[in-house]
């Protein structure tokens, strides 16, 4: 092999030349030729082509479209600070505050009062958010708005900590043991809805956010909740009288459910999904 240094360097030079040629070609096409003709109103200038190819043009943004009147579902933002505060409640202090909560939330819960949920075992973030929504008025309820406005966010956290420590609804950790009959093969339409959802109608599976076997921040566990309350809240989401679900997941889904489905879903979850095979 003519191992003279002449050829050693020249082949290396050839490789670099080929490579620069290929790279130059790709940049030429990618940043000059192709983006030039992407404008709907004729070819862009060289500078616009480069900006477009780098993604610095944001065509949709400059539209400044006129927006319908703003409606804010909730003022809660799941930043780390909010989560840390909501989780940082002191259960003992919460128990003291909960004394007057129990006036309604303990005795009534056993009955089928549709507007009073069971709080025992409720997730801290859920309690904290609902109280804050009552305070800010994004969730409407005569007595609850007044109570929420009289408490401070630290109180919310304490009450949330207290109720979370109470036995009742299981904490939703998003895990569940693998179990058959959780797919569309299940003949029971109710179980299909809870565990597999109904993509034909665009309905997500309840369990994928509320559990068992699915966790979403801010979504309460529903098992062992008050059945009438669940049915009534689903109704409220469907009609929009309750609208504090951040980014509208519940209103979007509840609107697609039939009243019978709402009732059977509520009673199934209230019975703790026990009898579901």
């Amino acid at each position: 092999m003519s191992a003279g240094n002449g050829s050693g360097r020249s082949w290396g030079f050839f490789a670099v030349a080929m490579l620069t040629g290929v790279v130059a070609l790709s940049f030429g096409f990618g940043f000059v030729l192709l983006p030039k003709y992407q404008g709907t109103q004729g070819p862009y200038s060289a500078k616009d082509s480069l900006y477009h190819a780098l993604g610095l043009h944001t065509h949709g943004k400059e539209l400044g479209s006129v927006q319908p009147p703003l409606k804010v579902p909730t003022y809660i933002v799941w930043t780390d600070a909010t989560i840390r505060q909501a989780m940082g409640g002191d259960a003992k202090r919460g128990e003291f505050i909960a004394l007057n909560c129990n006036a309604c939330h303990v005795e009534q819960a056993k009955s089928t009062e549709p507007w009073i949920p069971i709080l025992a075992g409720l997730d801290r973030l859920v309690t904290y958010k609902q109280l804050d929504d009552f305070r800010s008025g994004t969730r409407l309820s005569g007595p609850m708005s007044a109570i929420a406005q009289s408490l401070t966010p630290q109180d919310y956290a304490d009450v949330a900590a207290y109720y979370a420590s109470q036995p009742g609804m299981p904490e939703n950790t998003g895990e569940r043991m693998p179990h058959s009959h959780r797919t569309y093969r299940n003949p029971d339409p109710l179980q299909r809805l809870i565990f597999a959802g109904d993509p034909k109608r665009g309905i997500a599976a309840c369990a994928s956010c509320h559990g068992p076997g699915g966790y979403l921040i801010g979504a309460p566990a529903l098992t062992n909740q008050n059945a009438a309350y669940l049915g009534q809240q689903l109704q409220a989401f469907a009609q929009g009288t309750r609208a504090n679900d951040m980014n509208m997941p519940m209103r979007t889904i509840a609107r697609l459910l039939t009243p019978e489905e709402m009732k059977s879903l509520a009673s199934a979850y209230a019975k703790g999904l026990a009898e579901l095979q």
């Binding site: 092999m1 191992a3 050829s7 050693g8 082949w11 290396g12 490789a15 670099v16 490579l19 290929v22 790279v23 070609l25 790709s26 940049f27 096409f29 990618g30 940043f31 192709l34 983006p35 992407q38 480069l50 477009h52 190819a53 780098l54 993604g55 610095l56 799941w78 930043t79 780390d80 989560i83 840390r84 989780m87 939703n172 950790t173 998003g174 895990e175 569940r176 043991m177 693998p178 179990h179 058959s180 009959h181 959780r182 797919t183 569309y184 093969r185 299940n186 565990f195 597999a196 109904d198 993509p199 034909k200 599976a205 076997g213 699915g214 966790y215 979403l216 921040i217």
Partner: protein, 544 residues
């Protein structure tokens, strides 16, 4: 007998031991996606199984196999004991421990985030620590390959490095460079979040860093299959390698062009402009060259063997080839699978055309056909080739081995062709279950059922593969086992151009290319002043 054969054997046993159950998971997943009845039909179990199937088939199985094969090559091709064998064992232990660390939370359903990391979705911290430990273990192998390569070159100045060693060192170097992408994503972005030190993550930067690994890892898997093409098949077919030089050029092209193509996985992403997407698309066309070169060189090699065995006429040599040799049969079947597999790749990489099939089942079918087909069928053939030399016992049957390879070939085609069609019909990717009462989905029912048939054949084939190796390991020892030997080229070069005998020059080119093609795409995230996304864990890993 081979030196340090126990080291290679341990790697191969570990690789195939987790490969077999992973094929079983694959079949269960095919059943879940089909209208057929299936036990434990739970979508959550599917996503956990898919995470396990993907993690094993993409990280654990190929990495362990390639490390084992690399050590076997280093010892036999360089004809000297492996330098740093206890480091090699340490790397092996790390890989096994890392795999178990990763698989534990998956089995517990605590890390069903699939295997391609979807920040801001975050799984259990042990999964990421496990993957990081496997990668660290594999870096031991990268270091040892480079050390042995350099040591041999110092002792044999001016001599061409044996092609097999040159190729596997290219593979090690490629993996060394490309793993930096995914590793930096895991170490700098995901681990801090899953350990609770940070609570937000830049999904755009994470996807871009992962894309640096996502394609080059495919060539990390493919190169060992090509090592068998170039250096083990010619003598099994009874011929000689058509061109040693062109083989080295192909491996060098892989090294230089594998990483700066990664953004063809991000064509449809909102965090990049179309400019660099086109640059990566064009470079992906270039990285198709070495495969096209190899197809011709290897077919020519087969032709030499066929004609040397008396094959006449234009294609008469095909019949004359020894089709009962597993290595020859597997190379032919791999080339046949490479055609449709490569075709899918050509479509995926063609810039705007990616929009037709992005994240549909077409993509899943493509990488099953080209990795599960072309690469894995060669891993099996390499397994058959190395087993007698590593265990000191002859392969009990070559006929069963050939039947197994044919089953794998047909199983892979029957599974993936309908899958490609379903992808074109708009079947979205990574769905656990399909609602076949929807007419749009019902149209694909027969395709998903056909894929299950393919899956059944594949699992039988995998079981037969395991049986042949296991039975051969128990057979009585024999002294007449020939050592691992490598093919002669038609014109074995006395000296090879210095650029085809070392990597310094190519490393420089590679780094320059990666800087040019990934510099801005990665750099933009540091001045984009965008807000990071809050982390989301599916199974409430974030206890605060």
């Amino acid at each position: 007998m081979e030196r340090s054969r126990l080291l290679s054997l341990a790697h191969l046993w570990a690789a195939f031991l987790c490969f077999l159950p992973a094929t079983g998971l694959g079949l269960w997943q095919l059943l879940m996606r089909s209208p057929l009845p299936v036990p434990v039909d739970d979508p959550n179990a599917y996503y956990a199984s898919l995470t396990a199937h993907g993690s094993i088939m993409a990280y654990v199985f190929p990495t362990l196999f390639i490390m084992g094969f690399g050590y076997a090559i280093a010892v036999s091709a360089l004809g000297r004991p492996l330098r740093g064998e206890n480091w090699a064992w340490a790397g092996f232990v790390l890989c096994v421990v890392g795999s178990l660390m990763a698989l534990a939370p998956i089995a517990g359903g605590r890390s069903s985030i699939l295997y391609t990391f979807y920040p801001p979705m975050v799984g259990n911290v042990w999964y990421y620590l496990g993957v990081a430990v496997v990668i660290i273990g594999s870096y031991f192998w990268v270091a040892l390959m480079l050390i042995n390569f350099a040591a041999w070159k110092r002792e044999n100045p001016g001599k061409p490095v044996p092609l097999a060693m040159f190729a596997i060192t290219t593979c090690a170097l490629l993996w060394g460079w490309t793993a930096l992408g995914a590793t930096s994503e895991v170490v700098f972005q995901i681990l801090p979040v899953s350990l609770g030190w940070r609570h937000t993550i830049d999904a755009g930067l994470a996807r871009t860093l992962f894309s640096m690994t996502l394609h080059a890892i495919v060539y990390f898997w493919l190169i060992p299959a090509y090592v068998a093409f170039y250096t083990l098949m010619p003598q099994a077919a009874g011929g000689r390698l058509y061109s040693d030089t062109m083989g080295r050029i192909a491996f060098v092209l892989f090294l230089v062009f594998s990483i700066p193509v990664g953004m063809h996985h991000l064509f449809m992403d909102p965090e990049h402009g179309s400019g660099f997407k086109f640059v990566h698309s064009l470079l992906t066309f270039i990285v198709a060259l070495p495969t096209l070169l190899t197809v011709f060189t290897i077919t020519a090699t087969l032709e030499i063997a066929g004609r040397a065995r008396g094959g006449k006429g234009l294609l008469g040599w095909i019949r004359a080839l020894p089709w009962n040799e597993p290595m020859v049969l597997s190379v032919a079947l791999a080339l046949l699978l490479l055609a449709p597999g490569g075709f899918g790749g050509l479509i995926n990489m063609s810039y705007a055309m990616n929009a037709m099939i992005h994240n549909t089942s077409w993509v899943t079918a493509h990488f099953h056909l080209i990795f599960g087909g072309v690469v894995v069928i060669m891993y099996m053939a390499i397994g058959y080739e190395l087993w007698p030399r590593l265990t000191g016992r002859p392969l009990i049957t070559k006929r069963a081995a050939c039947v197994q390879l044919w089953l794998w070939f047909w199983g892979m085609l029957i599974m993936t062709v309908p899958w490609h069609i379903a992808g074109l019909m708009g079947q979205p990717r990574r769905y656990a279950i399909f609602d076949y009462t929807d007419p749009g989905v019902a149209k694909m029912a027969w395709l998903d059922i056909l894929s299950v048939v393919g899956g059944v054949i594949l699992v039988c084939s995998a079981a037969l593969f395991f049986y042949v190796l296991a039975r051969s390991s128990l057979a009585s020892a024999a002294e007449s086992i020939s050592p691992i030997r490598y093919a002669l080229a038609v014109n074995p070069p006395a000296r090879v151009h210095p650029l085809l005998n070392g990597f310094m020059f190519w490393n420089v080119l590679l780094l320059a290319l990666v800087l040019i093609t990934y510099g801005y795409p990665v750099g933009q995230f540091f001045f984009l002043h965008n807000q990071d996304a809050p982390e989301h864990s599916l199974t409430r890993e974030m206890k605060r």
